[in-house]
């Protein structure tokens, strides 16, 4: 059985429906009207132990709402949800022992007392056996470089130090699942790296299941194997990074630098175009030739062969769509499931995406 299993998970919020301005506010005092806003819309999610998942989506897409349901903070409006066999909001305290939660924008550390005291508090709170506590603390202190500041109160450490301490505190009780909400927000490159390496080792060495929300693509590439994208409450992608590219960015562009290109290209173009149907072949001013093609229709080698057999190629390079661009386009709503390029030729139907599409 999967560690996290959600079926038809839905969360609807009640929002005050009030007209603008003072008049609207006064009216609302007397006549309360509400409208429902669907934050998470019938999502299916199945996560096995040991997976590392990036949960992405633009602001307001339903990421935090989903995480809050998984952690038991919010009660789902509809659907079924089990986390390690428990219904989180019904067994909040038991569920709490299985999970570690780090919110990038909020600390669990006690502000006024030394960081180490917060850790000791976590030990008592989760009733962690002394031996486990000592072993974990030693290991995390070494991996995250905590010893330089554990004796200082949280109020006096930097954001990067705070984040590392928060990670440690969330993991002392050996949780099966770690939820990270924007863990690297506002951190410098060195700290980001350290945190990513740490989380990755957690997944590899301890088999911790990690689910993180982020807007930082470095987090995804360094930590996660699987990417789930939610938009307007629906899951629009569920799969690995390669699959994301296959689904949303099948186009590749190869740029060729042709010897005496400016001179030869006008004659060359029609023949290349004829050899590569369904591709876009364009000549640049500087004697370059670029071919945009669907990589499920042509292999890059075929494109190269077609061009090289007709002209002398001095240099070439392949443009892969950057994940960043890809996700940006998804966020901007420029790519939706409906207009997935060539969905008819999609390699394998994708159960989660299909489910979300219904």
């Amino acid at each position: 059985m999967p560690l996290i299993q959600a079926e038809g998970l839905t969360k609807t919020f009640r929002q005050a429906d009030k007209d603008a301005g003072l008049k609207g506010s006064v009216k609302h005092l007397f006549i309360r009207r509400y409208k429902n806003k669907v934050a998470v819309d019938n999502i299916d999610l199945s996560i096995e132990a040991g997976e590392s998942i990036a949960y992405l989506g633009p602001n307001g897409a339903g990421k935090s709402t989903t995480i809050k349901m998984l952690t038991g903070i919010l009660v789902p409006t509809a659907g079924r949800l089990h986390v390690d066999g428990l219904v989180p909001h019904e067994h909040r305290q038991r569920n709490a022992r299985n999970i570690g939660v780090v919110f990038g924008q909020r600390t669990q550390l006690w502000w006024d007392i030394p960081v180490i005291e917060s850790f000791n508090l976590a030990r008592d709170m989760y009733e962690i056996p002394e031996a486990t506590y000592r072993a974990n603390l030693a290991e995390f202190t070494e991996m995250l470089g905590l010893d330089e500041f554990v004796k200082l109160p949280a109020a006096r450490i930097s954001l990067g130090q705070r984040m590392r301490a928060d990670l440690c505190m969330a993991l002392l009780h050996n949780p099966k699942i770690l939820y990270l909400d924007e863990p690297t927000i506002g951190l410098d490159i060195a700290v980001k790296d350290r945190i990513r390496t740490f989380v990755r080792r957690l997944v590899d060495e301890r088999g911790t299941t990690v689910m993180l929300t982020t807007h930082d693509l470095g987090d995804i590439e360094d930590i996660c194997e699987r990417i789930v994208i939610i938009d307007q409450g629906r899951i629009i992608h569920d799969g690995d990074l390669g699959k994301l590219k296959d689904t949303f960015a099948r186009d590749r562009v190869i740029h060729f630098q042709i010897a005496r290109g400016a001179e030869l290209l006008p004659a060359l173009l029609p023949s290349v175009r004829a050899a590569l149907p369904d591709s876009t072949v364009e000549a640049g001013d500087d004697g370059s030739l670029s071919v945009r093609f669907d990589r499920f229709v042509f292999a890059a080698g075929e494109i190269a062969a077609a061009v090289m057999s007709r002209a002398e190629v001095e240099d070439f390079r392949i443009d892969e769509p950057a994940v960043e661009d890809l996700i940006k386009r998804v966020y901007l709503g420029q790519l939706t499931l409906a207009d997935r390029p060539g969905s008819k030729a999609a390699p394998a139907p994708e159960p989660a995406a299909e489910a979300a599409a219904r």
């Binding site: 969360k11 919020f13 009640r14 934050a39 709402t65 809050k68 952690t71 038991g72 903070i73 919010l74 009660v75 409006t77 909001h89 909040r92 305290q93 038991r94 709490a96 022992r97 999970i99 939660v101 919110f103 909020r106 669990q108 006690w110 006024d112 007392i113 005291e117 917060s118 000791n120 508090l121 008592d124 709170m125 989760y126 009733e127 109160p153």
Partner: protein, 269 residues
């Protein structure tokens, strides 16, 4: 309050005490404030007694001084600061953090509120002794039984006070005007607890009202027991009433909290 697994709450209380000790200066300032207050009360009542050795409202001046010091002591334990902290936690979304930890919200807040009680108690006793010395001594409990029951009654008074504070702090779920609610609680409690004027001085109708309110249990009851103003069965009945109010208010607080959390977790704040 669950006894099993209470170790974590003891740690929570200890951490909370440590925070208070970190802010020694701010703590000292609060103590100075209360010293002025208690001295002012003593001068006021000395003027009222006007050097008479005759009893007023059933109190001699010696007993009145004892009464005022017990009132001072009870008012020193748990303060507006506890409402402020619980309310701030609610406003800043600490409830969410608490829901993902194996902690009971009310018990945690209780632990954090009583954590600093040892320092509050120690300083209040010091101030009380100094004031008692300066004003020529105070009445003591007539015998050890009264002293022992007084300790129980004072503990129950603190529970009632926590119950009140917790219920008021729940207001933070619905309003940002917690300060007003807290001020109101302190004002009402000041009158009906007998902290400003012993209830014996009240007209009958006002005394009847205070009898059905929980506030008298926070000051009047322990003070009367301390002075031995009530005998055996009446004393036990008063302690029983205190216990009932303590349980009732704590349960009420739990119900309000549960309702508020349900509203937040189901409708989303």
């Amino acid at each position: 309050m669950v006894v099993a697994g209470s170790h974590k709450y003891v740690s929570l209380a200890r951490a909370s005490l440590e925070v208070i000790l970190t802010y020694r200066l701010s703590f000292l300032m609060n103590v100075i404030g209360t010293v002025f207050y208690v001295i002012a009360m003593f001068y006021l009542w000395r003027t009222i007694f006007g050097g008479n050795s005759a009893a007023l409202g059933g109190f001699t001046w010696l007993e009145m001084k004892g009464y005022l010091l017990v009132a001072f002591l009870m008012n020193s334990l748990l303060t507006w600061y506890d409402e402020f902290m619980i309310g701030r936690g609610i406003r800043e979304g600490e409830v969410a953090s608490d829901l993902v930890r194996p902690l009971d919200f009310q018990t945690s807040r209780f632990a954090q509120a009583v954590g600093p009680v040892p320092t509050e108690l120690a300083t209040a006793l010091l101030v009380a002794m100094a004031v008692a010395f300066a004003f020529g001594g105070v009445a003591l409990p007539p015998d050890p039984v009264y002293a022992a029951v007084f300790v129980v009654s004072a503990a129950l008074a603190t529970l009632i006070k926590f119950g009140l504070i917790f219920c008021v702090a729940m207001g933070a779920f619905w309003t940002t005007g917690l300060y007003g609610l807290t001020t109101g609680r302190i004002a009402v409690q000041g009158v009906f607890s007998g902290a400003l004027i012993p209830l014996a001085f009240f007209p009958d109708w006002l005394r009847a009202i205070s009898a059905v309110l929980p506030f008298q249990g926070t000051v009047s009851t322990p003070a009367l027991i301390y002075l031995g103003k009530v005998d055996g069965t009446a004393m036990l009945a008063m302690v029983a009433v205190q216990a009932a109010w303590a349980v009732g208010l704590i349960v009420l607080g739990r119900l309000i909290f549960r309702r508020a959390v349900r509203a937040v977790t189901i409708h989303g704040g």
